[in-house]
């Protein structure tokens, strides 16, 4: 089964690479490759073929495993819908949590639950925050499992609390904040419709609507080029790498602020995760 999955992934990549070197004019090539990517996505967009569902399965085990000094599972963790209630929780994150008096995204909240409910030393979890060859990530597994429990639901930004409002305003300001040796902000690449880097299409995330909905509704995702399931934390980390910024702190409030802004642009978008992307 695993072998079949790997073969399927390799086949998909070959298709993508082949399309990249076609002799048609560039826009045609870009359109064709976008179509092929769509076809590839459709082909593997079922739970039996998307390797991201391995993360979902591992995440479920992790959620139910007793760990930490308290030797309890995460099943008492409240992600905003009540202790242990997972259905629809991801669709309303990030949100304000009274017990922590903070706005948190899913990853910040999971770390909080590990530290406060399980009394787990999260040093090892943080060291493995991003999976790699021969190294799985508890966070990527848990996010895949929990976000998947919001499939078919609509992104429902929580903005009633003053701290949620502050996060939204800061996230918006950060989206347009230019810095570093390339003078880039998020808006440099994601501020206009229909732009691309080389042949890679860029979603315009500076306005609410369909593009933002489709983007945010498809994270976490299985990245074929990285052979890993990735979360929005990783996506933003990778964006700042390309912007020539230093690495942003994992699970920092700035990244959550940006996520609040992005989810507010994506309000009403349908969640279907883990998706699969290039």
């Amino acid at each position: 089964m695993l072998g079949a999955r790997a073969a399927l992934s390799a086949l998909g990549l070959t298709v993508l690479l082949a399309v990249g070197v076609s002799g048609a004019p560039a826009q045609q090539a870009a359109d064709d490759s976008e179509k092929e990517i769509e076809r590839y996505r459709a082909m593997i967009n079922d739970p039996m073929a998307n390797p991201g569902y391995l993360n979902v399965d591992r995440g479920e085990v992790l959620w139910k495993t007793a760990r930490g000094a308290n030797n309890v599972s995460l099943e008492k963790c409240d992600l905003g819908m009540g202790p242990g209630k997972l259905e629809g929780a991801y669709a309303k994150l990030p949100r304000y949590f009274k017990d922590a008096d903070r706005v948190m995204d899913l990853e910040q909240r999971l770390l909080w639950c590990m530290e406060n409910i399980q009394k787990l030393d999260t040093k090892d979890v943080l060291a493995r925050r991003f999976g790699g060859p021969g190294r799985t990530s508890d966070m990527e597994d848990l996010v895949a499992f929990i976000a998947n429990k919001s499939n078919g639901m609509k992104i429902d930004p929580q903005l009633a609390h003053a701290k949620e409002q502050e996060m939204l305003a800061v996230g918006e300001a950060m989206f347009f904040r230019r810095s570093s040796i390339s003078d880039f902000s998020c808006a440099t690449c994601h501020g206009e419709d229909g732009k691309r880097i080389r042949l890679q299409g860029l979603p315009n995330l500076s306005k609410p609507g369909k593009v933002a909905q489709e983007t945010m509704g498809s994270w976490p995702t299985y990245r074929v080029s990285q052979s890993q399931s990735r979360t929005m934390q990783h996506r933003l980390w990778d964006c700042y790498r390309q912007m020539r910024m230093p690495a942003p702190e994992y699970a920092s409030d700035g990244l959550t602020a940006l996520t609040v802004y992005l989810t507010s642009q994506a309000a009403g978008g349908e969640i279907n995760v883990p998706s699969i992307k290039r």
Binding site: A29, I181, I197, R198, R244, P246, P248, E249
Partner: protein, 208 residues
């Protein structure tokens, strides 16, 4: 003098175009100090020599504040400030080797936290611009530069203007999206000369 006047006119024309766009959604009322506190928390462990990348210079700050659409007074301040940073080659020759320029235009490496330190940076021009016709994998964030030199009759003045634009695009167009390659020392004088030749040499594939 005449050249200065032309540039000023061009700058004004750009300003007018910029102001013809619909007004952007006004920046939210959050205190800049609050934003900077979040920035500090997000980049609290920064490698030696990288802190300046987190903090904004005046031009970055003003362009961010006005979302690249500054009022005329700010526009003129940026123009004057950025123009003063442009350093032309000592001998006045801005044309390098277009073949080397092509390699620099294709090369997107350098400057990322995942890159080895002290590597030679690429210009990554094709990420955003169309240039040589046979290169189909080009981005569209910047305008097409196909036949750039040919359209400008390979003029020496235009070559100097290209050098200045690559060195510091905001010396010509305040709040341009393009990186200030020379100002940030991301590209060397020789690399900028080679790129200028790539755009302005009659032999370059850009002009074929």
């Amino acid at each position: 003098m005449f050249r200065k006047l032309t540039l000023a006119c061009a700058a004004l024309a750009i300003a007018v175009v910029a102001h013809a766009q619909p007004a952007p959604k006004q920046a939210t009322a959050v205190d800049p100090a609050v934003i900077e506190a979040y920035i500090k928390g997000t980049w609290k462990k920064v490698p030696d020599g990288w802190q300046a990348r987190v903090e904004q210079d005046e031009t970055q700050r003003v362009c961010s504040q006005y979302r690249n659409n500054p009022p005329l007074t700010e526009f003129e301040k940026i123009l004057a400030r950025e123009k003063a940073t442009v350093v032309f080659p000592g001998d006045g020759n801005v044309m390098g080797d277009w073949k080397k320029g092509e390699k620099i235009a294709q090369d997107g490496r350098g400057g990322q936290f995942s890159d080895p330190p002290n590597m030679v940076n690429g210009g990554n021009c094709y990420a955003c611009h169309q240039m040589a016709k046979e290169e189909l994998s080009f981005g569209t964030l910047g305008p097409s530069l196909a036949e750039y030199g040919k359209i400008r009759k390979f003029s020496v003045e235009e070559a100097k203007s290209v050098y200045a634009k690559i060195f510091n695009p905001q010396s010509v167009q305040p709040c341009s999206n393009m990186p200030r390659f020379g100002f940030h020392r991301f590209l060397s004088e020789q690399q900028i000369k080679d790129l200028t030749a790539y755009l302005m040499s009659p032999d370059s594939p850009v002009n074929k």
